[in-house]
Amino acid sequence: MRIPRDAVLPSLFAVVLAMGVLLPLMMTLTISLNPNEQDIMVSMGSVRSFIPQVFSPQNYIEVWTDPVHPFVRYLANTALITFSTLALSILFNSMAAFVLAQGTLPIRKPVMILILATLAVPGESLVLPQLMMAGWAGIVDSYEVQIMPGVANAMSIFLFFQFFSRLPKELIEAAHIDGFSFFQIYRYVAMPLSKPVISAIAVLQFLEIWNAYLWPVMVTRGPEYRPLSVAMSAYFGTNQAAWGNIMAFAVSMAIPVILFFLILQRQFIASVMSSGVKG
């Protein structure tokens, strides 16, 4: 392949960029495939630690079958929490946004302003009162307590609101004349049209919930409800000597996210480009 003259320098930089990202990941994979801890320590930092010399599934088997840190349970917890949050958040927030954008309620404007004002409050400054409330409700260490905060999401209401307020008036009126109720217009007209917004919100919230750390640290007490992110740090803290296993844990945790990304690659890039939810 011939590279045009102006592209030589950018191509070089692109290779440097790719190496900067890939080298640490190559190292992770290499260490995770090496069952010999001593060899890992000896070769650490040398070229051998970046190119797999052996391909052993042993570390993976150990991680997945560890009785103290039940990986499969953590994975199931994380998946359950993430998908429940996404489903409830998309359902409730789209309904609310539809009322605010297309309804006739007189207090729509103040409600919308109130919702937008909550965007200014960083979630981190709310964790303590939320924890107190969870304690009063008796739901500390449960799935609910990890699902609920993600459902209260003003950004998701805002993104749906923007989309719904741009729906053509004729479309809504036509559906109304055909005898659709307000809810039916939402369900059968607005929602089927909003696939791009749904996938944008789904992608951004997926990353946010899958990677959540501060809140789950505070509200989970043991493996029963603990998600992967907290388990990873606990595992990391207690098995500092077992780098092979830690890296196998890391790879196992990263793969579902990368798969999710590969499936939704186009929507993913479009949604990050068009919004601005994650810091």
Binding site: A18, L22, M27, M44, G103, L128, A154, F236, I246, G276
Partner: protein
């Protein structure tokens, strides 16, 4: 139809927000004690402003934000410029550059823990190449280096997000401007300085604000890697809040920190918006 979302927002954002303002004026504990909680006025705030560790946490957080924001934004802009030019295999490079954004922070932290290892992790192997055998840098244990190590890790971990937004911004700059500049004989640097950079003004203001606000919330990396140490060198505001409110169970005191944090973040975001919006218009 409006009700479910409204209940969630009220119960989980507005309610806790008002509660934390109330708690900040009381001696509320995490686990209730036999003695009832009482109103103690501004004692928590006075104590907070008198605690040297609180000031250190502020200094560390500001230091982190002031360094990581320009570092990360220039990395992101550089990567976006590269991936917006006519490089071969552009799709492949783009997918690779996005990878760090997809990796959970806890995973990235454990990978970087290996990179930072002493005495012979990969970074130290490179260092020894220059400094000679037996020398090494204690990336996480040396108080004057620890926060910079967290900066490097954090910039690597999240730069693809800003990169994607820069890419979107670059694609909105009309191509004819570049054509015209080329016809006028503008060199690459001049095209960047007079076409690209002004064209990215709004993107820059937006990214500056969200990157700064994101940086001020630094917690996960620090909690896992250094626990705020060594000697408080990486204690951030959120880590301080977490320590005081959760580990030490002083919810009232930590709520004062939370209220302060909310006010500071809002003020900084509004300030940046004002300054940079006006500068561009003048």
């Amino acid at each position: 139809m409006l009700l479910p979302a409204l209940i969630f927002i009220t119960a989980l954002i507005i309610g806790p927000f008002l509660l934390s303002v109330w708690f900040s004026f009381t001696d509320q504990r995490l686990v209730p004690r036999p003695i009832p909680t009482k109103f103690i006025g501004t004692t928590n705030y006075a104590r907070m402003f008198a605690d040297p560790l609180f000031w250190q946490a502020i200094w560390n957080t500001v230091f982190f934000a002031v360094i990581v924001t320009p570092v990360q934004l220039s990395m992101s802009l550089g990567a976006a410029l590269i991936l917006n030019s006519a490089v071969p295999f552009r799709g492949f490079f783009r997918s690779v550059a996005i990878l760090p954004l997809l990796l959970p922070m806890t995973v990235i932290v454990s990978i970087w823990a290996v990179l930072f290892r002493i005495p012979s992790g990969p970074f130290n192997a490179v260092y020894q190449w220059f400094a000679g055998q037996g020398n090494y840098v204690d990336f996480l244990g040396n108080p004057s280096v620890a926060m910079l190590s967290i900066v490097a890790l954090s910039a690597w971990a999240t730069f693809p997000y800003q990169m994607l937004i820069y890419l979107a911004g670059l694609q909105e700059i009309p191509q004819d401007l570049y054509e015209a500049a080329k016809l006028d004989g503008a060199k690459a640097w001049h095209r960047f300085r007079y076409v690209t950079w002004p064209g990215l003004r709004n993107v820059n203001v937006f990214l500056l604000i969200i990157t700064t606000v994101g940086a001020l919330k630094l917690f996960t990396q620090v909690d896992i890697l250094t626990k705020g140490g060594p000697n408080g060198a990486t204690t951030t505001i959120i880590h301080y809040l977490f320590k005081q409110g959760y580990a030490n169970q002083k919810v009232g005191y930590a709520s004062a920190v939370a209220v302060f944090f909310f006010l500071a973040v809002t003020a900084i975001a509004l300030f940046q918006r004002r300054v940079f919006k006006n500068e561009g218009e003048a």
